[in-house]
């Protein structure tokens, strides 16, 4: 389907759900992750880190430590 038409921007931005097991889901995930990886400006410091809570872990995850 090369052309799709929408009556509003809101309609255009609706999330596209696919069924688990649908090959299109995995090709979309792969393409999206590849794009994201190429756009990443940082790397994470390799290794193991311990946290006392998920909140501590999420704070650390939001601050990548190595520039690419």
């Amino acid at each position: 389907m090369p052309v799709r038409k929408f009556r509003s921007v809101e309609e255009m931005n609706q999330p596209v759900w696919r069924e688990p097991g649908d090959a299109a889901l995995y090709s979309t995930i792969a393409a999206l992750w590849e794009t994201g990886r190429r756009l990443q400006k940082h790397r994470f410091q390799p290794g193991v880190r311990r946290f006392r809570s998920i909140d501590e872990l999420e704070m650390a995850a939001d601050t990548p430590s190595v520039d690419r």
Binding site: P15, V16, W17, R18, E19, P20, G21, D22, A23, A24, L25, Y26, S27, T28, I29, A30, A31, L32, W33, E34, T35, G36, R37, Q40, R43, F44, Q45, P46, G47, V48, R49, R50, F51, R52, S53, I54, D55, E56, L57, A60, A61, V66
Partner: protein, 184 residues
């Protein structure tokens, strides 16, 4: 298709073998690597459940993520199986630092970044006071050609609904609508 990435990851990323493909897309390194990690979990009998953004992807909504969130059954044997699985994928001695003593004790959250540094595995044995492994509804669903354990849409909704992050609240709303989830 099986691709041994251990040497490529540690020694020379440029020497990595060609990525597997689905349709006309080339799988990203992380897609293939994460799939290998999960296949290793399955081989080693790790008791786990994927949650977070990766779970949202596997339930049908493609979304970029830099991490793989994994809830683990909190037993010494399971943490040993986890280490075996990770060591089968990554030639990385730091994996030995992932211990049951920590995960069953004062550190229920461990982050492991493989040598590539491009994503992280967040390993949890409990989530605040709200969730333990026993509280999770777990489903078996496909991740390409591997079948993996993922929290159900309802559990994922409950996890995301009560967090402070706006993107999690937005995800919760999407899950609620898609799966017809009722609040208690």
């Amino acid at each position: 298709m099986s691709t041994d990435i251990r040497r490529a990851v540690v020694l020379d990323p440029a020497a990595a073998p060609p990525c597997p493909t689905v349709g006309r897309y080339t799988h990203s390194v992380d897609f293939a690597t994460i799939k290998q990690v999960l296949a290793a979990f399955e081989r080693e009998g790790v008791r786990y459940a994927i949650f977070g953004a990766a779970a949202l992807n596997l339930h049908g909504l493609a979304r970029f993520t830099e991490d793989l969130d994994v809830f683990l059954q909190p037993t010494e044997g399971n943490i040993a199986a986890l280490r075996r699985a990770l060591s089968g994928v990554f030639d990385d001695p730091s994996i030995e630092q992932i211990t049951a003593e920590d995960l069953l004790g004062d550190y229920p959250a461990i982050q492991y970044v493989p040598p590539t540094g491009t994503f992280h595995l967040d390993l949890l044995t409990r989530l605040g006071e709200a969730f333990t492994y026993a509280d999770l509804e777990i489903m078996r669903i496909p991740f390409d050609d591997v079948t993996v354990s993922v929290v159900s849409p309802r559990t994922l909704y409950r996890m995301k609904r009560d967090t402070v992050r706006l993107k999690d609240k937005a995800d919760a709303a999407l899950l609620k609508e898609r799966f017809g989830i009722e609040d208690p």
